[in-house]
């Protein structure tokens, strides 16, 4: 009997303490980020879909289609092609295709790149009704950006 009463009293006390906790939280400010009204800053190392890096000297992609990234990729989602032009020491990338829907954003390609010619973008809020958009042509993307 005593034990039961004790349990009831302690139990009620625990309930009241719990209610106090939630009530205190009730009056604290919200922690929500107002996402579509405000853009978020991704951290420096944020891993979004990769993009080509522009060489400030030439204004073109640094990449010379050495294929290291394509070989490093576990999912095989990168296809790179390049041509060697007359009078140039290295190849120039003509097509850099990324099937982002297969990518696991592991960063193997970026790490494998000897010249830091690719980097992660900050594209964090990508959603689309069109599946074909995920087949990215990074070279064209770079050209569009420069325009």
């Amino acid at each position: 009997m005593r034990a039961t009463l004790r349990e009831i009293v302690l139990g009620c006390r625990s309930l009241l303490v719990g209610m106090r906790v939630t009530m205190v939280e009730f009056f604290k400010p919200v922690v929500t980020v107002p996402y579509p009204h405000e853009a978020l800053r991704m951290p420096e190392r944020y891993r979004g879909p990769i993009e080509l890096v522009r060489d400030p000297a030439t204004g073109r992609a640094i990449c010379y289609a050495c294929q290291l990234c394509a070989r490093a990729c576990p999912s095989g989602c990168i296809t790179v092609e390049g041509v060697k032009r007359e009078g140039e020491r290295r190849k120039r990338v003509t097509q850099y295709q990324l099937d982002f829907s297969l990518c696991s954003l592991c960063g193997a390609c970026v790490e494998a790149c000897p010249d830091a010619a690719i980097r992660f973008s900050k594209r964090y809020n990508w959603a689309t009704p069109h599946k074909e958009e995920f087949l990215l042509d990074l070279v064209r993307q770079l050209e569009q950006e420069s325009r």
Partner: protein, 376 residues
């Protein structure tokens, strides 16, 4: 296979009936299916059916180079990705005899323990959700976001970090991370008190957990259950202590053990582990050495010597071990992943016999399952 809502068949001949919990059911956290034979609300037999998220990790291990398998390790148990990567790189480092620079090991410990806390926080929230409390879930997720912010800043990802490399870690940590981690440790202690006030001491929760779903130590041993499950049954089995790896021996921390074996014991073990992880993080922050974060001379293309190499870590759910069988090629001959949830769930059928459905849900929740960790 009938996912809910399952329609009732004609009245069965027996007194029991079959209830299919899952593969889509709120309490099975993902896609576990429980074939329950019920007598009213009592369970006479609960047979887990797995494989609904089987993702061929072991097969992929035989198809990929060592470095290429790294992203997979973050996705087996996505809630404790750091630990799983740790086990894999640990096995490779053992095979190659790589010496990991101390700073890298410290960073590994810090990130691992942060990851453990975030994993336990998800468990805490999801468990409370199973028990019908929604608010603690959001409080826990709020705290977890702090950890994710920290980890995202250094790894670039919120969940599937893929941060450790053979012989070190991917990037060094910066001052902002150290400050943030200190701030987090300072924030987390009062939050734990809040959890205890709101949840642990709550009479409803105590009544739902104390004495519910007892798992004797012997049962744990025979089923190979590890992690908080076996520690909640009275054995101080923690891979960080019994098979020390990384620099864990340098830290002073306790292994929380509760002998009762009921759901409350497992609950308490995890809550205490958050506390212990905070302690480890604090110590690691204090003594963080300087230096490189990646070992010198790690070949670009790894080839392991022939043989079998095993490395076990204490993941958030228990003992996770990687066994690599190498035949000197760039691609392993076999990668075996020993996952804790697998063994922890396998005892459910025996432990849940004769329980009531809501109690069984509490037991299931207290096992802290991640289904892809079972299915691999």
């Amino acid at each position: 296979m009938t996912p809910p809502p399952a329609t009732v068949q004609a009245p069965g001949s027996g007194e029991t009936f079959l209830l299919n919990l899952g593969p889509q059911h709120p309490a099975t956290h993902g896609v576990l299916r429980l074939k329950l034979t019920m007598d009213g609300e009592y369970i006479t037999r609960a047979e887990p059916v797995c494989g609904y998220v089987h993702r061929m990790h072991e097969k992929m291990g035989e198809n990929r180079k060592y470095a290429q398998f790294l992203p997979n390790t973050s996705r087996i148990d996505y809630l404790s990705a750091m630990h799983y990567t740790h086990a894999f790189v640990g096995a490779v480092e053992r095979a190659l005899g790589l010496a990991v620079p101390p700073r890298a090991e410290y960073i590994r410990v810090i990130t691992s323990e942060l990851n453990r806390i975030s994993s336990h926080l998800v468990w805490f929230g999801a468990f409370l959700l199973d028990l019908g409390g929604f608010t603690p879930l959001l409080y826990a997720f709020d705290d977890r976001e702090q950890i994710l912010d920290l980890l995202e800043a250094i790894t670039g990802s919120r969940l599937t970090y893929c941060y450790y490399r053979f012989g070190g870690v991917c990037h060094d940590i910066d001052n902002a991370f150290l400050e943030g981690t200190r701030a987090f440790v300072a924030r987390m202690r009062p939050r734990l008190r809040l959890y205890h006030e709101l949840v642990t001491d709550n009479i409803i929760l105590r009544n739902r957990l104390i004495g519910i779903g007892p798992i004797p130590l012997e049962l744990c041993r025979r089923y190979g259950a590890t992690g908080p499950v076996i520690r909640g049954s009275g054995a101080a089995y923690d891979v960080r202590k019994t098979e020390p790896y990384s620099v864990y021996p340098q830290f002073d921390f306790d292994v929380p053990v509760y002998p009762e074996g009921d759901s409350m014991a497992r609950y308490r073990v995890r809550m205490d582990e958050i506390e212990q992880s905070l302690r480890i993080v604090e110590q690691a922050l204090e003594r963080l050495p300087s230096g490189p974060v990646r070992a010198e001379g790690v070949p670009r293309v790894l080839k392991l010597p022939a043989g079998e190499f095993c490395c076990a870590v204490e993941a958030a759910r228990g003992r996770f071990a990687v066994r690599i069988v190498s035949d000197r090629r760039e691609i392993p001959w076999r990668v075996k992943l020993r996952t804790p949830s697998f063994s922890n769930l396998s005892l459910f059928e025996e432990a849940s016999r004769g329980m009531m459905l809501p109690d069984a849900i509490a037991l299931l929740g207290s096992l802290d399952l991640v289904i892809p960790d079972i299915d691999r």
